[in-house]
């Protein structure tokens, strides 16, 4: 089976790559370690360390929070090692894990409904031993893997039918529904969005996509009216009001947005300097060490610093997408692209929310915000992207469920 017909590689190149691929088993583990994309990894580390520095800035004046940066540093260290380990894991292993992980996540989500505990008004948390986890966070990765695994199983040259994608939609909707009733609107949306990207990349016909978009727009009002809980509706109202410059309750939801915008706007071009942010240092922005950490960066480092951060994310995501495109297997492509989309939607939802472009949905900023579960999910996604990159030529033949 020749690949040069569609990759556009010259034959020589293709041979070299095939040879590399063939000599895979003969390489020592150290060689493989050295072949990791270190530029990508170092950029991840640099951004995570920036996040920890910002966490220190936002919390150091508050005795109850001043130790959090150390905790986050330890978490990052652990997750960093995990990411590299995951990156060295052959795709066949990932594929074998995909469905069990998916089923396990569904079980956990059901358990959350049955015996989970609440935090922040929604029942999201599950206690496993000494730590509390949010299965909805793991669901993002599990759904991505399951979708990729599903398409790897069913996507054949002869199966171009729409019906194939119905199975993918089912895989995506089941956990999404479970998360929605927690209720966690933001995560549901992020899950559906990144799932939709995977289905899109898997080749769903353009006609269906257009129909979907029209249907989605049409369902906005019914969802608002009949599906959303009152507090969620209030958030949307607040969002619309501030977006169009209307009066809002300054001490309720919009207080956070308003104070966040003041912090961002006051940052100006260069920012006030590290540890110098007035809004940030004096606790004006609630949740500024978690979801609203971007306000600290924006106030202390200004437009330049914030744009640099967004460019950093863009580089990470662009490289990931590029890497996904180079993968030989559908599993590798879709899993990597799905992980990329998951992180991208984290960022878009968070930054859009903080900048007042989206409703407050409670979404952390990957690598930057304080929080263990989000850090774990993000780093696992990067691990998957690394694995797909490292094993882009691996031939996956699995057709069964495992």
């Amino acid at each position: 089976m020749s690949r040069d017909g569609y990759t556009g590689f010259s034959r020589g190149e293709a041979r070299t790559r095939t040879a590399t691929s063939l000599s895979f088993e003969t390489q020592g583990p150290l060689d493989k370690f050295m072949r990791l994309p270190w530029g990508f990894i170092l950029l991840i580390a640099a951004m995570a360390l920036t996040g920890i520095a910002m966490l220190y800035s936002s919390a150091h004046t508050n005795p109850a929070e001043s130790h959090l940066w150390r905790l986050q540093l330890i978490r990052f260290g652990v997750c960093f090692v995990m990411m590299i380990a995951l990156g060295l894991l052959p795709l066949s292993w990932w594929m074998r894990l995909a469905f069990p992980a998916y089923v396990g996540t569904i079980v956990l989500l059901v358990l959350v409904e049955v015996m989970g505990f609440s935090g922040g008004g929604a029942q999201r948390w599950l206690r496993i031993g000494p730590i509390g986890v949010q299965p909805s966070e793991f669901a993002k990765l599990a759904v991505t893997l399951a979708l990729a695994r599903y398409y790897q199983m069913v996507l054949q040259p002869q199966t171009g039918r729409i019906l194939v994608h119905l199975g993918a939609v089912a895989i995506m909707v089941i956990p999404a529904a479970l998360i929605f009733i927690q209720p966690d609107f933001g995560t549901t949306l992020a899950l559906l969005a990144s799932g939709a990207v995977v289905i899109f990349l898997a080749g769903l016909s353009a006609r269906v996509i257009l129909t979907g978009i029209v249907g989605g727009v049409a369902s906005v009002w019914p969802i608002y009216q009949f599906v959303l809980a009152p507090y969620q509706r209030e958030r949307v109202d607040t969002f619309l009001a501030q977006l169009f410059g209307g009066a809002t309750n300054a001490l309720g939801e919009s207080y956070q947005i308003e104070q966040g915008k003041i912090a961002i706007g006051a940052g100006g071009l260069n920012g006030r300097g590290y540890l110098q942010g007035i809004q940030s240092q004096q606790d004006y922005v609630p949740e500024q060490h978690t979801d609203f950490i971007l306000t600290v960066i924006a106030e202390e480092f200004g437009f330049i610093g914030t744009t640099a951060l967004l460019i950093g994310f863009a580089v990470l995501l662009g490289w990931s997408l590029y890497s996904a495109g180079r993968s030989a297997s559908w599993f590798g492509r879709l899993a990597s692209a799905g992980a990329t989309a998951t992180i991208a939607f984290y960022i878009v939802f968070n930054v859009g929310m903080v900048l007042g472009l989206l409703p407050v949905v409670g979404m952390p900023l990957p690598l930057i915000s304080y929080g263990g579960t989000a850090m774990l999910t993000t780093m696992a996604c990067f691990g998957l992207i690394l694995a797909a990159h490292m094993h882009r030529d691996e031939k996956l033949t699995a057709r069964g469920l495992f």
């Binding site: 003041i262 706007g265 006051a266 606790d283 437009f303 495109g325």
Partner: protein, 647 residues
């Protein structure tokens, strides 16, 4: 065959990856555009909002002006004291905050409930930033402990505050009065006649824990002079309202109240109080040339420091129920029968009326019959035949019965008013009383009865309905000492002057006054004088001239007079007569006038006289009336008042 299909699929994937990437790029560009809008285009607006966010203007109370004596010694000033308060807007649960505070310092249970209510009240009243005081006057240990815990307890505020302080304690209680937190009544009184906005500002200011208002005495009289104008503190606060730092701003600073100088010599005051040696009574010393009040003693007294932070009801009840009445301002608010000290007034009235010549003699065999009753002279056996000089010197009652009867009540009353009786002298204090100078019209109006001639006889020896204050007795003495020159008493050296220009300028005949002086000299310096022993000031020259008096606390029964039980241990203390003495010194060149009353002291010559003599001795020796410290600045007063005037 499958290769073609696979190739199509792969190509589709690449194309869709590109589309996804482009879409992502568009979203990213949108985010950066939004950042550009917020951080570059709208930067100024958000910077201003950030400023407004964290800079707060807090009402700052002015520092109250001090009250200083004539030599600049502080009588009312400030001292620093640790204070614990709760800022209502910083706690969501007042009970819990108070419970946490109560673990560190002692707060009575009944007070806890009241404080929680106060905190809620301030929140409702849109004054959630006004602290509610929990405890004042912290000990050093308590202050240090509270400081350590300040950050942990929401709403807790620990600070050093300036508290009104009266370094001379009881000495000036009745002159200065005291300050206290403004009550609802105080606010109503203080905002009387103000516009709504002014009144609201004043009320807000008085809610500040540092603010006090004068409740009595000079503190109340000179309230506006002393108060100053409130300003603002420019504070940097965090989101919870906790103060991070203060930005000094001269233009916003409060305008402190002005200092007030009184004419009193606080050392003379102290000596006078000590001289009473625990007896109840009053003394007023005046400079007869300038009208300066040099001492104004009322003893016993309360400690005004106890009132500054609110006195407990138990302590107040103790003061109120004390049989020696420490709350009673005797010197200007105590009304007594003047007794024989009034005889100069009666003699003056008689000479003015022309009903008797100075040398005309009246025979005193101790008894004076009028109508069907008999009046007595104090001296067993009588004085024999006496002229006016001898009658004053020996305080012969019969002589004064006779001339009072001849003069008539209305004429005596008229003359009494010329000496300052029957009028309330404000002098910058509150609580002054006018006493009572009775006449026919008064009797008819108040008692609905005709005046009985017999009452005129009692009037003639300063008894009966007649009531005077020690301050009025000092004024009378000063008028005699100055031989009737117009006399303007004052106690405020620099400060607000009382509205009505109270001055004694009714004409008094100089020759008559000279006769009165001679009579008073006789009392202390000639044989037969009732206070012969008190005349020498012990300064090797200057003598004093004075007059004794006894104020009856109750009528003497015929049986008592017959049995001779009138004095000493034989009757209960509170029924014994008051002893009075008025004097001026030096006798040949009067500088000081004094009146002294020793309650239940029995004898004017035996108790009140020596007190007056010792006070005058000290005043002359130390020259209490010497130039006051403020006279220098008084000549520069236009400048001074320019500085002190609120703009």
């Amino acid at each position: 065959m499958s290769n073609k299909k696979t190739a199509d699929l792969d190509f589709a994937f690449s194309r869709r990856t590109a589309i996804a990437g482009a879409a992502g790029g568009l979203v990213w560009a949108g985010l950066v555009a939004r950042l550009f809008q917020l951080q570059i285009l709208e930067q100024e607006q958000y910077r201003q909002q950030a400023e407004a966010n964290h800079i707060k203007l807090q009402l700052a109370p002015p520092q109250r002006g001090r009250i200083l004596d004539r030599f600049g010694r502080p009588l009312a000033s400030h001292r620093r004291a640790g204070r614990v308060s709760v800022i209502p807007e910083q706690t969501d649960n007042p009970e819990r905050t108070l419970a946490q505070i109560a673990e560190l310092i002692e707060i009575p249970d009944d007070k806890l409930e009241r404080l929680a209510n106060d905190i809620r009240y301030n929140r409702r009243r849109n004054a959630a930033f006004v602290p509610v005081t929990i405890a004042n006057e912290l000990t050093y240990e308590d202050f240090a402990r509270m400081n350590v815990h300040e950050a942990e307890i929401p709403g807790l505020n620990v600070e050093m505050a300036l508290t009104r302080s009266y370094p001379r304690g009881r000495d000036f209680a009745h002159v200065l009065g005291y300050v206290a937190r403004a009550s609802q009544d105080d606010l109503t009184r203080l905002t009387d006649g103000m516009t709504g906005k002014e009144a609201e500002t004043l009320k807000t200011m008085f809610r500040h824990p540092d603010m006090r208002t004068g409740r009595q005495g000079m503190e109340r009289f000179a309230e506006e002079w002393l108060r100053g104008k409130p300003g603002y503190r420019k504070l940097v606060t965090n989101a919870h309202g906790r103060i991070i730092e203060e930005i000094p701003d001269e233009r916003l600073a409060p305008m402190p109240g002005r200092d007030l100088f009184v004419t009193i010599d606080s050392d003379l005051q102290r000596v006078a109080i000590e001289r009473f040696a625990g007896e109840s009574g009053a003394a007023v010393v005046m400079d007869v040339e300038t009208g300066d009040v040099l001492a104004m003693v009322s003893t016993p007294a309360f400690d005004p420091n106890d009132f500054v932070n609110g006195i407990s009801s138990a302590n107040y009840a103790e003061l109120r129920d004390d049989s020696r009445s420490p709350l009673y301002p005797r010197a200007h608010g105590g009304v007594y029968p003047p007794g024989s000290t009034f005889k100069m007034v009666v003699a003056t009235a008689a000479l003015e009326a022309g009903v008797i010549k100075p040398e005309e003699r009246v025979h005193c065999n101790r008894y004076y019959h009028f109508g069907n009753r008999t009046w007595h002279c104090w001296k067993p056996g009588g004085h024999g035949s006496v002229n006016m000089h001898q009658a004053i010197k020996g305080s012969c009652d019969v002589y004064f019965y006779e001339i009072a009867r001849r003069t008539g009540v209305d004429k005596i009353a008229e003359t009494a008013h010329k000496f300052g009786f029957g009028e309330s002298w404000v002098l910058g204090m509150t609580g002054g009383r006018s006493g009572l100078v009775p006449d026919r019209e008064w009797k008819q109006r108040v008692r609905k009865e005709n005046w009985y001639e017999g009452e005129t006889l009692n009037f003639g020896i300063g008894q009966g309905q007649l009531g005077v204050t020690p301050l009025q007795l000092a004024l009378m003495t000063a008028r005699i000492a100055t031989e009737g020159k117009p006399f303007k008493p004052r106690m405020i050296g620099i400060g607000p002057q009382s509205d009505e220009d109270q001055v004694l300028d009714a004409p008094l005949d100089q020759e008559i006054m000279a006769r009165m002086k001679a009579g008073m000299y006789g009392v202390t310096s000639e044989g037969g004088g009732t206070a012969y022993r008190s005349g020498d000031l012990g300064l090797g020259g200057p003598r004093l001239a004075g007059k004794t008096g006894t104020a009856q606390v109750r009528r003497i029964t015929r049986e008592e007079r017959a049995s001779g039980i009138r004095k000493g241990e034989n009757i209960a203390r509170e029924l014994r007569d008051h002893a009075l003495f008025v004097a001026y010194a030096p006798a040949d060149d009067p500088k000081y006038a004094i009146s002294v009353i020793v309650e239940h002291g029995e004898g004017g010559s035996s108790t009140a006289g020596p007190v007056a003599r010792d006070i005058l001795h000290y005043a002359l020796k130390t020259d209490s009336r010497r130039k006051p410290a403020y006279s220098q600045s008084a000549s520069l007063s236009p400048n001074l008042s320019d500085e002190g005037e609120p703009t």
